[in-house]
């Protein structure tokens, strides 16, 4: 407990770092995941831009990257991170790696949610002469928005969990804080303090996500 008090400044910095990492990763990974998910959705046989080769390739590529153990994945993308953002370590490198890794996972969530849009409304838009891109933007995405919000909330919670590995490449955040000062030093008070703050963040995010989805779906 004393130790926790002592570490208070680091604790708050870690909290801020977690927010920063999760927010940025959700933004970047969410964006690319959306793109990839849209590619999966639109190129699947019978869909708006159905294209078997593209679909198969994207499908295989995503399945290639998703199951790679994350620590191996980080090591593998470090050179790439250095090239793009100038460093292979620290919070930003983690955000880089996590953005890539999460975009593959997010793409699946996006794909699934887009698939729930009823074919009838897509047909209606087609009948009005709308092109595939427009249909995606103005019909498919809005119709799937409620479930998509829940999907992204799911991802956000998963990201909070994943940022805990930040410590591995010199990043910070509450997860790394809990591991470094709590778990690895056998200090349960510190571990749980960090975990509880994480949980509070997540509850807030989930409540917001639920609320938003309910507002959008009107049920």
């Amino acid at each position: 407990m004393d130790r926790l008090f002592e570490l208070a400044p680091e604790f708050w910095v870690a909290a801020a770092e977690t927010l920063y990492m999760v927010a940025l990763t959700l933004l970047i990974g969410g964006f690319f995941g959306l793109l990839l998910g849209i590619v999966l959705y639109t190129t699947r046989p019978g869909s708006l831009l159905s294209n078997k080769p593209v679909f198969t390739i994207v499908n295989v590529v995503i399945n290639f990257f998703r199951p790679i153990p994350f620590i191996i994945f980080i090591a593998a993308v470090q050179p790439f991170a250095r090239y793009v953002i100038g460093t292979g370590i620290g919070n930003d490198a983690l955000i880089f790696a996590l953005s890539i890794a999460s975009s593959f996972a997010i793409s699946r969530i996006v794909e699934q949610n887009l698939l729930t849009v009823s074919p009838g409304v897509i047909e209606a838009a087609r009948s009005m002469g709308a092109g595939p891109i427009r249909i995606l933007r103005t019909v498919v995405l809005p119709e799937a928005l409620g479930p998509l919000v829940l999907g992204y909330t799911f991802v956000l919670v998963a990201l909070v969990d994943m940022t805990a590995v930040a410590g591995a490449i010199g990043g910070g955040g509450l997860g790394a804080f809990a591991l470094t000062y709590g778990y690895r030093q056998f200090e349960p008070a510190i571990t749980w303090a960090a975990v509880i703050l994480i949980v509070v963040f997540v509850q807030l995010a989930q409540f917001f996500g639920n609320w938003l989805a309910r507002k959008i779906m009107r049920r």
Partner: protein, 342 residues
């Protein structure tokens, strides 16, 4: 030249049963729809009517045959080019297919946005349409907050929004009360007359055909079994199925079941006399009967009006001496078609 022309068009779906024969929804249909027509399509449920119109704006690929719209072959046209053609075609869907995530207003605005209308144009046009379909107070409601008929009206407004050259209406009034139906039909009539919009309308309400269609095709089992001017098909259907449909609005010769009912309530002989526009004078017929000293009563049927032409089948119960009736009927037979039903 015809605005829409189908040549030997077939559409089949794979069988739901594994290894079963494919389901032929539309079976070698050839059809010409002229610009300015209000073309009705009627037929049994499952006859292939919806499938047929979905082929006309290429929402589904044909299995074989060619479809031309405005002189351009749309079968085998790439999707990108089809888009230009579809901008000119409005469609009212049998299941409405409204955008659930958009308000009524946004649903109706959508095709205008696709067509590239300006914000101001859209606002004016949508207000106009909302007013017309009587949903001004529902502008901000979402489809799941609407009644069945309200949904259908949104679908109608949406299809009309861009003032398309060709309107495909699949059971456009099936969920509407008679009065709203009349209003919608009047509007369709007006756009047809004033703007020359060609309308293809599927319906199972013969009144709809009667009141707005100029041509009609009857489908059965994927095929067009009869087609022509509405007056011709309705006043003298050639095919038994067509006759049965027509009979819901045009009371023709009563069916045996109906005759049995009439028989119970009326004595005398029951006879149907058919009149066509410009044919026999009714008063002459009634006079013949009255002069023969017969008592008679109109028990079934009435006079119909299609596109300003009248025709009808009047079934009378005639009481009197058999010989007198025979004589009178012989006389009437010279003026109009007489069918003795009981």
């Amino acid at each position: 030249m015809a605005l829409v022309s189908l040549t030997d068009v077939t559409k089949s779906y794979p069988s739901p049963e594994k290894g079963g024969a494919p389901i032929v929804a539309v079976d070698s249909v050839s059809l010409e729809i002229e610009a300015g027509d209000v073309f009705g399509i009627i037929g049994y449920s499952g006859a292939g009517k919806s499938t047929l119109v979905r082929l006309i704006n290429a929402l589904e690929p044909t299995t074989s045959g060619t479809i031309e719209v405005g002189g351009r072959t749309i079968t085998s046209m790439p999707e990108r080019e089809l888009r230009g053609i579809r901008l000119e075609i409005g469609m009212i869907f049998q299941q409405f297919n409204l955008f659930n995530s958009k308000t009524v207003r946004a649903n109706i605005a959508y095709p205008l946005q696709v067509a590239g209308a300006s914000k101001a144009e859209i606002a004016t046009r949508v207000d106009e349409l909302l007013d017309f379909v009587g949903l001004a107070d529902k502008a901000r409601a979402f489809p799941d907050q609407l009644s069945g008929g309200q949904k259908q009206r949104v679908g109608i407004a949406r299809a009309l929004a861009t003032s398309p050259r060709l309107l495909l209406a699949d059971e456009a009034t099936s969920a509407l009360d008679p009065e709203t139906t009349q209003e919608v039909l009047q509007l369709l009539k007006r756009v047809n007359r004033e703007f020359g919009v060609t309308i293809v309308i599927i319906t199972h309400e013969m009144e709809v055909i009667q009141s707005i269609a100029t041509k009609v095709a009857v489908m059965d089992g994927g095929r067009v079994i009869e087609s022509g001017d509405v007056f011709d098909v309705f006043s003298s259907p050639q095919n038994p199925s067509s006759a049965r449909f027509v009979s819901t609005v045009v009371k023709g010769v009563p069916s045996p079941a109906e005759v049995a009912v009439l028989r119970e309530r009326h004595d005398g002989r029951i006879v149907t006399i058919s009149f066509r526009d410009g044919g026999a004078s009714q008063s002459a017929v009634f006079l013949d009967l009255a002069n023969a000293g017969l008592e008679f009563e109109l028990v079934y049927g009435g006079i119909n009006d299609i596109q300003g032409r009248a025709f009808g089948h009047l079934t009378l119960a005639i009481r009197g001496a058999d010989a007198a009736v025979d004589a009178a009927l012989a006389q009437v037979g010279a003026r109009a078609e007489v069918t003795e039903v009981a």
